[in-house]
Symmetry: C2
Subunit: 416 residues, 2 copies
């Protein structure tokens, strides 16, 4: 029998109706069993992963790719603990907000419900199979997982741990489905199934996200890139600015909430840039500097618009000196990717104005951009970071995987 993505999506939809009405205790029981199944299945998971790794080496994948693909006992334990953490989070489903009574006595409330079916499209990291599935599950959604072909054996072994736990608790396996054939044609067909699938979340490189957005007839949550700015204001406390700069650029340069551009007010440039230059040299940060700042850095090259547009994801940074606050805001508005921007300033008017005028998903005052993360912002866990404004903007937790319905209670009212 040939595989039908349409049948898989339809089955996921049917299963989502049952799941939407499954209580939190049952969902948590399933989550704890998934964690347990991961622990007891370490040998078969690693065995499956070895098949993927062998193929990856044969196909000449890069060391970085192979590292992303690799799972060992330690990584499995981390995944299991993440699942238990999600079990501990509050369930958004059923939450009631906005209670109101209308003049005619109608009671109006809004209540959180699951979205229905979520399709995850991702690349080589097999841990996404578990992470994404359990987040969608906790929020009451069915999920269709379409991972990369390099990780298919690993993903199957991981999905097995989920299916066991679902069946053991009387839930349909279709609540979590793994697309067994990573053919592009099948993905293209999946992206048209708007009757069955409510949301697509692509996780991976910009190419993947653009492809999904262009071809999807289903709403897509986009996270293109994080070109995060740090603006060091005229009234900045430079002893706060320096650690915030280094934490943002150096601590973990390969992630989307790391800094890519430093914007400095000209009044503090002379004092701050040498401090920055010393630290950059120590940490091996390559600098792309504007004309006004290039003299402060050894081995800097001149920054072009391409640099200000770049998400380096590496020990590289663009530097721009501005004449005034206004120019800083303009530069950020022009080059921002809508992810995270930081101001360091002691001046309350400047920080208020910055917060008012910068409409990135996360706007920070005197704190490191590295806090722009679902866990750090108190969402408990994160399914992704949206840089498009519809539905969710910024780090997305469980609540972003739900929507609200209106519940109206009357006593026989009719409209006049």
């Amino acid at each position: 029998m040939t595989f039908s993505i349409q049948a898989m999506a339809r089955a996921a939809k049917t299963a989502s109706v049952q799941l939407a009405n499954t209580d939190t205790l049952t969902k948590n029981k399933v989550l704890f069993e998934i964690a347990e199944n991961l622990r007891t299945n370490v040998p078969p998971i690693i065995e499956a992963n070895q098949l993927d790794l062998a193929a990856a080496r044969e196909n000449g994948l890069s060391d970085a790719m192979i590292d992303r693909l690799m799972i060992d006992a330690n990584r499995i334990e981390n995944i299991a603990q993440a699942v238990e953490h999600i079990a501990s989070l509050a369930d958004p489903v059923g939450m009631i907000t906005n209670n109101d009574v209308r003049p005619n006595g109608l009671k109006i409330a809004k209540q959180r419900i699951p979205l229905g079916v979520i399709a995850m499209v991702y690349e080589s990291r097999p841990n996404v199979t578990i992470d994404a599935a359990v987040l969608c599950f906790k929020a009451g959604n069915s999920v269709v997982l379409r991972g990369g072909k390099e990780a298919l054996n690993s993903n199957k072994a991981l999905a097995q741990c989920i299916h066991q736990a679902l069946e053991n608790n009387g839930l349909a396996k279709d609540v979590v489905s793994l697309v067994p054939d990573p053919d592009r044609e099948i993905m293209n067909e999946m992206l048209t199934l708007s009757e069955s699938i409510d949301l697509v979340i692509p996780r991976g490189g910009e190419g993947l996200i653009r492809f999904v957005t262009k071809n999807s007839q289903i709403p897509v949550i986009q996270h293109f890139k994080g070109v995060c700015h740090l603006y060091v204001d005229k009234h900045a406390d430079l002893n706060k600015a320096l650690p915030i700069l280094l934490n943002g650029k150096v601590q973990r340069p390969g992630v989307c909430n790391s800094l890519e551009t430093l914007v400095v007010h000209q009044d503090v440039a002379e004092k701050f840039l040498p401090m920055a230059a010393t630290e950059f040299a120590k940490s091996g940060v390559k600098v792309h500097a504007c004309q006004q700042s290039i003299g402060y850095f050894a081995n800097a090259d001149e920054a072009t618009d391409l640099d200000y547009d770049a998400e380096y994801l590496a020990l590289e940074i663009a530097v721009k000196v501005v004449k005034n606050f206004e120019q800083a805001v303009e530069h950020i508005q022009r080059f921002s990717s809508g992810h995270t921007e930081v101001i360091v300033s002691q001046d309350i008017s400047a920080t208020q104005e910055f917060v008012r005028r910068i409409n990135s998903a996360v706007v920070m005052v005197n704190a490191s951009s590295r806090f722009s993360d679902g866990g750090e912002l108190g969402l408990g866990a994160e399914i992704g970071i949206s840089t498009s404004k519809l539905h969710a903007y910024g780090p997305m937790g469980l609540e972003s995987l739900t929507t609200e319905k209106f519940v109206v209670t009357g006593n026989g009212q009719i409209r006049g």
Copy 2:
């Protein structure tokens, strides 16, 4: 010079940055001036409308279409009053929610901001030009209006009233743009401009909405149809059920929150269906009935799945008798369009179970489906009703035209 939709959308984006920081007082002043301009420009607006009406008659448009297209002094006054009403509504922009302090002392809040640029795609009603523009404007968004070609002269005259008020208050005209050429190619190009346009809202028939959804690379708010159900439970107060049924079907059958299907529990069918039949006969409602109910109605035909799927928007109704509550839920889940469903019952367990299991945008207990409307639910005004779950679900007010950013305030914190 040829018209460029790309240039128009880009200018709208630029103008949206200024508008996002325009305070509520200024926005309200503009709104009151728009209302005033509408009143003082009644003659030129009617003159422009006459051109559209003449062309419509020449092209043989139906009377219903011509009525939708027509504006007179009375309709202009109604539009002006609607604008003043929107001025009176609370401004969602700037609203702060979810204040939280993290263990490391970071203060986390969420703050409402405009979406940016909204494209409205609509058909022949010229009043949408003002309604949509002022709602988007009050929520701080630029809007690109793409109305039907039949209404182009009327739309230009109406847009003129807006532009005057914008310029008079130092705001860019690009805040509200009217596409001067309703060519399909131009609309297709517009639907790809995801760099400039944040949201597309189509208003019109199902064909238009499906076309926009299929071709848009920008998020779309969809409102396909309203197949609203009334379920009269075994424990219904039939003296409430009857007026709710009639109000839902007869008061204004041409709107999306009117009832299309009556589902009746078999234990009350014998008593309730004759009551319904008498009233249907009085009001001239045509009935499509299931086998069990067809005997109660004179001139009913037998209902098929097509009937249960139909949005009649007319004095027609489908009727279905069910054996039990479960069957009622199953019928509704199968045929629901996700708009509005009503239960009439005195039994608290039944109403709770109905609210829990029916995940339509609006779920009602003992009240008419006709209340499923932004104004009636307390949203103040309505830009549309979403039957897709992403971003907004159900009647959409001003808040649905905004999103939230995270505002994080620290005192030098960095991530460990």
